[in-house]
């Protein structure tokens, strides 16, 4: 389906579709032109990184496929950042993290959030209840209405997913 991407071909894709893509993104981002402009650039960067080039007639479909996932990433980041800041605001000042720590916590949160999103809801619930609510597996089982063995299985699945997610190179 794809041939190897060439810089010249990417140049053509940019010339022909970046303006249209900008408009498409701006509509999806509630008219925010700065975010739309950023994501246009990110879309092409990711296209180049993918090493793939869409077939004739599929150019826009391919670009919007990438752009759509970038919009999801952006919303995820904003949502987690807002929740993170809200949680920080509730803490005493002396435990406020530095900006470097802030970035790293956010990076971990985003990776874990993505990983949990790809898992069945029960699996991610079990993981959150165990890891961040301090529940034992028996308590998690009771809470979710599943067997103790199922909780173990969910935990193994979620732990594997997190291990892999934290190992991915950052984008």
């Amino acid at each position: 389906m794809f041939s190897n991407a060439l810089n010249a071909d990417i140049g053509v894709l940019y010339r022909d579709h970046s303006g249209w893509l900008f408009g498409w993104l701006r509509r999806r981002l509630g008219g925010n032109t700065a975010d739309a402009a950023d994501l246009v650039q990110d879309t092409y960067v990711r296209l180049i990184d993918s090493g793939r080039y869409p077939r004739a007639g599929e150019h826009r479909a391919f670009l919007t496929q990438i752009a759509r996932s970038l919009v999801i990433d952006l919303h995820r980041r904003r949502r987690l950042e807002a929740a993170y800041l809200e949680a920080l605001a509730a803490r005493p000042e002396e435990v406020a993290p530095s900006s470097e720590q802030h970035t790293l916590v956010l990076d971990t949160l985003i990776r874990i959030d993505e990983a949990l999103d790809r898992l069945p809801a029960r699996v991610s619930r079990a993981f959150l209840l165990s890891r961040f609510e301090g529940l034992t597996y028996h308590q998690v089982a009771a809470r979710l209405g599943v067997s103790h063995g199922a909780v173990r299985k969910y935990m193994l699945k979620a732990t594997q997913a997190c291990l892999l997610a934290l190992d991915e190179p950052s984008r």
């Binding site: 002396e94 435990v95 470097e100 790293l104 034992t136």
Partner: protein, 336 residues
């Protein structure tokens, strides 16, 4: 224990030079440890597995690193951010509300940068080394530095770190230190530095330390032996240095406190162990005094329970809560 190892895990193992079956076993053990229900026999079995083979230990290190990074996520933040309102049923949401309201939490978060640093110490670990110019450097718990002695002599101290730098017998010129957003210049002398997040605590025991201005055109501040200061975006604020050199207690493996509220004490002690150490609001303002060994924080917690009307709850080895002493608490305190 499952027989077939998933393909993605096999790839992970290959990237890290691990055997897939051992990695799978390490994950199984981690899941057991997280259950909060592990008995003494199972714990011994885990220890036996760990000591049976260096391959097991390497696999365990990879999995423990994940645990550390998860554990370093401040609990309240993770709970707050990762919760998915759309996916939680009303009944579940009501159940969760009952669990809110834990007391002061302690977390460290800067795992990734620490992992790749030139020199780092784990939680509860003290390290000392000699820099190429002869300076003696000590790292307190969960600290990390990058050295740049090739181009210019520079020491970069990563977020959340605490170090002591001894240059009393160094003849080379000043050493540039970058810490948080602050640049410092250590002359010959002995200094202790700690990153508190939004500000630095600097203490000069001997010699001089220059705090360089953040903006061009600003003026540097020179601190001399016996002086200490808080350094932040708002500038340098001098404050007295305790004359008994308490600032170096950690280099001798000791945490000394004098009439400190329990919550603040746990924040300090928690730096020396993995996971979270926190307390119930009901006991957070009890007053703690004494000297504690930082290489055995479990023992420190035991002594605490003897000195104060509190009970120590080990929910998992990484999640420890100090609560008020009552009958229920008494029963739970001996579960682990």
């Amino acid at each position: 224990m499952s027989e077939r190892v998933p393909a993605a895990l096999v790839d992970f193992a290959a990237r890290h030079g691990l055997e897939p079956s051992r990695l799978q076993a390490a994950l199984d053990w981690q899941v057991s440890l997280w259950s909060g229900e592990m008995g003494a026999d199972e714990r011994r079995a885990w220890a036996a597995w760990l000591s049976a083979d260096t391959g097991n230990q390497r696999a365990w290190t990879a999995v423990e690193r994940l645990a550390g990074r998860l554990g370093d996520l401040p609990d309240d933040v993770a709970r707050h951010s990762l919760k998915r309102p759309a996916r939680i049923s009303r009944r579940q949401a009501l159940g969760l509300a009952g669990l809110a309201g834990v007391g002061a939490l302690v977390g460290r978060s800067d795992w990734t940068a620490r992992a790749v640093a030139d020199c780092r110490s784990g939680a509860g670990e003290l390290r000392s080394l000699t820099l190429p110019d002869g300076s003696g450097l000590m790292l307190n718990t969960a600290s990390a530095v990058n050295l740049d002695f090739a181009a210019d002599r520079r020491l970069r101290v990563l977020a959340g770190s605490e170090i002591a730098l001894d240059r009393r017998r160094v003849s080379a010129g000043p050493l540039r230190i970058e810490m948080s957003d602050t640049r410092l210049e250590a002359g010959s002398g002995h200094v202790a530095l700690r990153d508190h997040g939004d500000r630095l605590r600097v203490a000069v025991l001997d010699g001089t330390l220059r705090v360089l201005p953040r903006r061009a055109g600003g003026t540097a501040t020179t601190l001399k032996g016996g002086e200490a200061a808080w350094v932040s975006a708002h500038g340098v604020r001098r404050s007295p240095l305790a004359t008994d050199h308490r600032v170096l207690d950690w280099t001798r493996g000791v945490l000394r406190v004098d009439r400190q509220p329990l919550a603040a004490f746990l924040a300090e002690l928690g730096r020396y162990r993995h996971g979270f150490l926190y307390c119930d609001d009901a006991v957070s303002s009890l007053v703690v005094s004494g000297a504690f060994r930082i290489d055995n924080t479990d023992f420190a917690l035991q002594s605490l329970a003897q000195a104060l009307p509190v009970a120590v709850h080990y929910r998992t080895p990484w999640l420890v809560k100090i609560g008020p002493l009552d009958n229920v608490a008494k029963k739970n305190a001996f579960l682990v």
